[in-house]
Amino acid sequence: MSGSANGLTRQQMADRIAFEFQDGWIVNLGVGIPTMCSNTDIGDRDITYHSENGVIGYGPIAPAGEEDLNLVNAGGQNVTLRPGAAVVHHADSFGIIRGGRIDVTVMGAYEVACNGDFANWKITGQKGGGIGGAMDLAACAKRVFIIMEQITRSGAPRLVAQCALPVTARRVVKLVATNYGLFEPTGDGFRLREIAPGITLDEVRATVGCKLTVPDNLPQVRLANQ
């Protein structure tokens, strides 16, 4: 897949979320764009990346030819380990998640509602779904951050008043990065914290499906670590 035609690229969305990571955090990155957060330069902050399959402290994707075929992240990509890594089994790994040790989980979503509900496991009309670890992570991580495109392929908003799709968890999303900007659910709407370069406020307003709050001095999306 290529980057978005409008606003931030996929890597820029991941970068913006990664800039929020604080020193010492334990971070779980979901499949897709979220995994790109581990590519972001966030200076000397020490982050421990946790994967559902029990890998604690993984590092960058393994260079081609140097993969350990028995070592993957949540997306099935062959990763490396950083010094101090540890491996546990699946029940212990989800014990870490349910036990509240994950400072932030970053996931993709189909929809995020202004009360913090979000949906990312089941499509309308589909029988079955793909939950994976999303419900455990969403219910139990200290923070849920979402990265998704601003609108669906058919142009409908993904930031909505309430989810039309079955939710993954309720009232948990704290921050959303889209290609249009950075948003916070406020309960009755979204607050636009930062806007993507090249995107107009009208474009944002037209693509949010509920109330939008915009601060007086709206900054552009921060694209470098500081």
Binding site: V72, N78, V87, I97, G130, M135, D136
Partner: protein
């Protein structure tokens, strides 16, 4: 005290007693830990009306390796219990889907952590437990919940197994196992949940005592049969990952 080795000579022999109607779990998360050779032997064995438990039904990657979906396609499966019964990508249709949508096969969709914990509970003699996962979702509809210290939890039951098929890197004749990196994933809890655990093993089976007791990942008391995986092409091994074409 004479210990008998748990090593058996072939995958066929390892699965030969599996009856129709058995409940079998497969270890594995993506490629690591999937018991490809035991699944292949089960395809050849032909047991039917199986209930199969694992993270996914498979088929999302190329090259396709033996997976739960193939047993479904082979008409051997009554029901699957998985954390993925469909892809999260709308354009990506799993091989399993048409059997599920037609009603030929039943499925129970379980959050991954709840699946791991239900297996762990079965192995640890815990018949039921409460979890915050899936509260407020479609999965909790009509189910029993309980408020503890002001937070709502869902009641979940143990998931006992007849058989666990797992893959390990190293084993001794008593069945003590070690896994390499994320090969471990579900295997240890599945082994505790099963009446009979069968492990395919990457390396030659070691004599009892060759693995440091402090470094055993799954104790041999949980492991009943061991089969050494032969080198390719006779044995099936994880390959480099390629995204499935869509």
């Amino acid at each position: 005290m004479t210990q008998k080795s748990k090593q058996v000579g072939s995958f066929r022999e390892a699965v030969q007693d599996i009856p129709d109607g058995a409940t079998i779990a497969f270890g594995g998360f993506a490629m690591p830990g999937v018991p490809f050779n035991l699944i292949q032997a089960l395809l050849e064995h032909g047991a039917r009306r199986l209930t199969l438990i694992g993270n996914t039904t498979g088929g999302a990657q190329q090259p396709r390796m033996p997976d739960m979906g193939m047993l479904v396609e082979n008409g051997q499966v009554k029901k699957v219990v998985c954390a993925f019964t469909a892809s999260t990508r709308p354009t990506d249709v799993l091989p399993f889907t048409k059997y599920y949508e037609s009603g030929e096969v039943d499925a129970e969709l379980v959050p991954q952590g709840t699946l791991a914990e239900r297996l762990r509970a079965a192995g640890a003699g815990i018949p039921a437990f409460y979890t915050p996962t899936a509260v407020g979702t479609e999965l909790a509809e009509g189910r029993e919940t309980r408020v503890i210290d002001g937070r709502e939890y869902l009641l979940e039951y143990a998931l006992p197994l007849d058989y666990a098929f797992i893959r390990a890197t190293r084993a001794d004749t008593f069945g003590n196992l070690q896994f390499h990196r994320s090969q471990r994933n579900f295997a240890p809890v599945m082994a505790t949940a099963a009446r009979v655990t069968i492990a395919e093993v990457d390396e030659d089976i070691l004599p009892a005592g060759a693995i440091d007791p402090d470094q055993v990942h799954t104790p041999g008391i949980f492991v009943h049969r061991l089969v050494k995986v032969p080198p390719p092409p006779n044995g099936l091994w994880p390959t480099r990952r390629q995204e499935r074409r869509r």
